[in-house]
Amino acid sequence: MPVADPTAAIEAVFRIEFARLVAGLTRFVGDVGLAEELAQDALVDALEQWPTHGTPRNPGAWLMTVGKRKAIDRFRRDRRLDEKYALLGRAGATDAPQSAPPPGTHGAFEDHIDDDVLRLMFVACHPVLSVAARTALTLRLVGGLTTAEIARAYVVPEATVKQRILRAKRAVSKAGVPFEVPEGEDRAARLGSVLEVVYLIFNEGYSATAGADWTRPALCAEALRLGRVLAELAPDEPEVHGLAALMEIQSSRLHARRGPDGEPVLLLDQDRRTWDRLLINRGLAALDRVRDLDGERGPYALQAAIAACHVVAFRVEDTDWSRVVALYGELAEVAPSPIVELNRAVAVSMASEPGAALDLVDQLAASGTLDGYHLLYGVRGDLLEKLGRSAEAAGEFRRAASLTRNESEHQLLLDRAEALER
């Protein structure tokens, strides 16, 4: 019988523990870049020692202890003793270096490490960084993805990702971003940034903006995992559950969005039997948590509520479209955007008739805010097709095709245009 590869097993432990390890070490040394290096050093020790000495009972605590020991070694080596000991003294006040806990106890599962992971998320998503940098840093430090994995997920050269992460860590260091969960008036905006980053990761997986693949499920899975972690770490925030609900529900349709050859399959054409009931139920449960928190529904919760209208309908014709229209109206109030208006128009076409929706889309087109957005023309083409204006519809599909960077979507739009011109 084949026995599992020990290196792969150690790397799995490392991936599982990575965010907690980096977070705990950041608290200890005060710098995410250094913490990441120390974590890697601890992994090297584990790869050397575990195969011969056996895997420790509490591998997370072992890695943390080794990482902290290495931090102290480094500070000594650096000879800048005074300065660094002062730093250690400060860190030690809250968290002195500890030896591994006795077997059977779960020292690494202490509450403050959970809080440290949350702090790490806030640091990685700090507004001092560009959105691209926040995303890369979050995937690296909190997701534990390697730069190669991130590069593959975003279809960019690995060197680009490496540079981006390196610069991001320096920027965080230079700006003196505190390792804390912001409170007070800053909190809402900072939390908004964390949620935005997680959702951007999700969306890149859900509808890849570039490259040959229509979806990248691994990226969705990673974002969903981050969302679930966040829901446990910040359980009192309605929008945290709103985002979790949205991602759970959207993920339930991930398989159904791809045809056998990887081509996109749109919502109304999907085989609803393949939707993942477990994720749907988790999404609906997360929406219940939003409701139980008694707050106003924010943009994520409202988008989740809209997505929920679709997943609870076993057939397209069972969809409560007027509810969808109403929810888009609510969403337009809390988070006005031309894209929300565009989606509302689609819902209007389903709830009443395509002519009314076309009026809304034409107003949007006239405003010019969505010039260059391929879905504006895609939706307009769709409505024109329903109204029997085939030639105009085909023109809109071609225009949409010329504007998307996703190859699968490009082909889908061209196919629709050709079908109308036949």
Partner: protein, 122 residues
């Protein structure tokens, strides 16, 4: 990737109820797995003596009340976990057995679609 982890054992073997410390340790483990975003559903399972076996053959149903005589049965409970690969699921399985002290946990992917690369490594 989603995995079903379940405990296997001989349900004829006498089993003492878990001591409170073990229950606490299990709660702690479940909390850690939930906070890691891994645990998506869990459930217990009662002895086969409380269940039934239903078969359909040649158009005829046969319903046999438990207990069933398989050497090893699903006992204790099960968990659905979402992990990046089998190695991660195995690590969580190790942690769950460690709570009990010894035993056997099987880890199986629940979604054959990932084999096609849909849920494969990015």
């Amino acid at each position: 990737m989603r995995f079903l982890g379940y405990t296997l054992g001989d349900e004829q073997a006498p089993m003492a109820p878990p001591p409170p410390e073990m229950m606490d340790a299990m709660d702690e483990f479940l909390e850690a797995a939930t906070k890691a975003g891994v645990l998506v559903a869990t459930g217990g399972i009662a002895p086969t003596s409380m269940g039934a076996k239903v078969t359909l053959k040649d158009g005829e149903f046969t319903v046999v009340d438990g207990p069933f005589t398989e050497a090893k049965e699903l006992i204790g409970g099960w968990a659905l976990m979402e992990c990046r690969d089998l190695e991660e699921a195995v690590e969580w399985a190790k942690r769950s057995i460690s709570v009990v002290g010894e035993g056997e946990v099987r880890v199986r992917p629940t979604d054959a679609m990932w084999i096609d690369g849909v849920y494969g490594p990015a």
